[in-house]
């Protein structure tokens, strides 16, 4: 089947089987390899992307759901100003060790930052926001520290990307 969608603001047309995964389309067909495959079962969150402005596991999205979809991956977010603040906070807090889970954690961080201000986000809310991301190196503490730091800064994250 032929599918027309938008990825990181660019219209693309791809040929895929109905149940091909968005993850494979991104990595193999579009060479957007910032998005990683961890478990392939929707547990680890390494493949997290935005689809129609909602956070999803790209390993669980079939090609047949992508008609006219707006997909935004970590590769499409690098040039935004807020991304530098996230990079810096992750670096300063040692929130990146092996780095494999990081793209997914950054996507969930962006989702949290755009939906909240410091006032309504305690540690429990931060943990909830990362329920779908697994990290085997940091013990999460350093990531939570980085996110807490980001929440105290006045970072402007757009409500929507590439729309």
């Amino acid at each position: 089947m032929n599918i027309d969608l938008t990825v990181n603001g660019k219209p693309v047309s791809i040929e895929a089987e109905p149940l091909d995964r968005l993850l494979d389309i991104l990595r193999d067909k579009l060479e957007l390899t910032g998005t990683k495959e961890g478990c392939g079962e929707g547990e680890c969150g390494a493949c997290t992307v935005f689809m129609n402005n909602k956070l999803v596991n790209s390993c669980l999205v079939p090609a047949m759901h992508l008609h006219n979809a707006n997909v935004v991956t970590i590769d499409g977010l690098r040039d935004f100003d807020f991304f530098r603040f996230i990079t810096k906070a992750y670096e300063e807090n040692g929130a990146v060790q092996c780095g494999f889970c990081t793209p997914g954690f950054v996507m969930s961080t962006i989702n949290l930052l755009r939906n909240s201000s410091e006032k309504n986000v305690g540690d429990e809310e931060i943990k909830d926001a990362f329920a779908g991301n697994i990290c085997r190196c940091t013990g999460y503490d350093k990531i939570i520290k980085a996110v807490r730091q980001l929440l105290t800064m006045d970072i402007k994250v757009p409500e929507r990307f590439y729309e």
Binding site: P18, E43, G45, T48
Partner: protein
């Protein structure tokens, strides 16, 4: 993977037409796909996929008179963020909050969670105590019917749905009783992103120091989620003394039939279910004393 035949109807009417033309072929009804995508290599390759996620009639939350209608293809997050559900059905919010993750809840649908009919399905125990009805569309007769949710399940991951039938709506009756107590708790390997080893949903009405009525359903401890009716009956009209609670804990253990499987053991599930009921009843007492 070979090329699979697939259809994406926009209305129930189109679903009916597609189904009629397929005359007897195996079909896979697909919505959010959070379970089906994981097992996609195991699907029969000659089956036809019918993706119902584009059918608008199956989406959204509506209040009509004394009932709330939730479309089967409504995602878990749409329910979680719905003010109507937050206000009127807090037990469902409590359950969905413990389910999966933001990423999965944006895709997974309530119809899928019910239709999967897993004894560990976390929307099922609250819906069973709420005594919801499930609306079903049959493409054979081109009609809808509604059944009580308890008649939907006939075994672990098995439903009474006939071939081609799809769940279209979940119909939740709004309670006339004010100040109804509710409780949902699940125990898993970890707090986040976990499949239930044992869970308990309860709603109850407490007045004059006694339980007026209580409805209980346990998850993951019997082939299908069902009401714990003997324990409910026992608790009715009782003052919650430690002795009564102890007796209820023993009763619930006799009403469930947990097994040992990959996720837990029979003994642990029995103990946890007893403890959940104790936790629920002591929590009820604390709530009443505030």
């Amino acid at each position: 993977m070979n090329s699979m035949q697939y259809y994406s109807p926009n209305t129930l009417d189109e679903y009916h037409k597609i189904y009629s033309e397929l005359s007897g072929k195996d079909i896979i009804v697909f919505s959010g796909g959070t379970d089906l995508m994981i097992g996609r290599y195991d699907l029969p390759q000659d089956a036809v996929i019918i993706d119902i996620s584009r059918i608008d009639e199956l989406k959204g939350i509506e209040i009509k008179e004394d009932k709330i209608f939730i479309g089967s293809c409504t995602t878990l997050n749409e329910i979680l963020y719905s003010h109507k559900i937050q206000n009127d059905i807090p037990i469902l919010i409590k359950a969905i909050k413990t389910m999966a993750s933001e990423q999965v809840r944006n895709r997974a649908t309530i119809g899928g969670n019910i239709g999967n009919a897993s004894p560990a399905g976390d929307t099922i125990t609250p819906l069973v105590v709420l005594e919801v009805r499930v609306e079903i569309f049959s493409p054979e007769s081109n009609e809808v019917r509604t059944i009580p949710i308890k008649s939907l399940f006939c075994g672990p991951c098995a439903t009474t749905l006939k071939k081609g039938e799809i769940i279209t709506k979940i119909i939740i009756p709004l309670s006339k009783d004010k100040d109804v107590f509710y409780y949902f708790r699940k125990i898993g390997q970890r707090n986040a992103m976990t499949i239930t080893k044992a869970s308990l949903s309860a709603i109850a009405k407490y007045s004059d120091g006694k339980i007026e009525w209580i409805k209980l359903a346990s998850g993951s401890v019997s082939p299908v989620v069902k009401r714990i009716s003997k324990t409910e009956e026992f608790l009715k009209g009782k003052v919650l003394t430690p002795a009564v609670i102890d007796e209820a804990r023993e009763m619930i253990a006799k009403e469930i039939s947990p097994i040992t499987d990959i996720r837990s053991t029979k003994a642990f599930r029995l103990l946890i279910t007893k403890n959940l009921l104790g936790d629920c009843l002591y929590y009820l007492i604390r709530q009443q004393n505030i």
